[in-house]
Amino acid sequence: METKDYLKDIQDIKEMMSKSSQFISLSGLSGILAGVYALVGAWIAYKTIYFDTSTMGNYKHLVISQEAVYKLLVIAAMVVILSLATGLFLSIRKAKKNNETVWNSAAKRLFINFMIPMVTGGFFILFLIEKEMLGLVAPLTLLFYGLACVNASKYTLGSVRYLGITMIVLGLLSTWFLGYGLLFWAIGFGFCHILYGSVMYFKYERK
């Protein structure tokens, strides 16, 4: 009996365990693109808030018109939909390249565990908007997204966990520095996505 065979056995076991329980086709490139969309979205939102409303200047006295709120919602929805579509498209491509099925049980678990905090947060924030409590919307999107990432990270690449923790910290900071929501939003969804997307891209995809 050669030791080499046993070593190979152990490597096979390890590989099969992670392959079957983690969704490894998540594409880093889609993170980078999602970050770019978010930055563009934040820029348009900035324009909408500060140039379309009658009150300029101090955040705390900022009055956002009903029309502007709808416009912001549309921008946010566009960013989310574009990001999801890109993520899906690139992950499917990566999975095909690795000869894996995309919608496997690991992907399902990833999706479900990501969506539980996301849907909770989504409804919570929609209710806040409905009740015209807009101040906490930006921090809460960061917080819920961060929690969703941490929750989902067990089922995919490890970097997602750190992305989630960063988002949570940013969310808390932006709750403290209320009024700079858009800035934190751009840092979180924009720069952090680009940063962690690049890390994932260079770590797992460029071989």
Binding site: M1, K14, M17, S20
Partner: protein, 98 residues
């Protein structure tokens, strides 16, 4: 040395069976197609290896219908999990020894 080799389990002494057990250690259950795709084996090949593990009582088989399609899913029994852990420990020791 003799002692360690005793713990190397003959039932796991095959790449596909090792693969099946690895998947079932970290997943509550897995169905036939999932296992087939993960391991990259043919239907017949997988069936004979799951059968072998079932005879040892290391995995349990559950057959049901999803809609009209028959679906077979497998899970590791407590006995199978314990045996597999012992097998891995023995493998590790063997590697360390040499």
């Amino acid at each position: 040395m003799k002692n360690i080799i005793q713990h190397i389990n003959k039932a796991f002494d095959h790449r596909i069976r090792l693969g099946i057990m690895s998947v079932l250690m970290v997943n509550e259950s897995a169905d036939f197609t999932t296992l087939k795709e993960l391991l990259g084996v043919t239907d017949g090949n997988l069936a004979s290896h799951t059968k072998a593990l079932e005879t040892e009582d290391y995995i349990s088989i559950e057959k049901q219908f999803i809609g009209r399609k028959p679906n077979t899913s497998y899970r590791a029994t407590p006995l199978g999990k314990a045996a597999f852990k012992e097998h891995i420990n023995a493998l590790e020791k063997l590697i360390q020894k040499s």
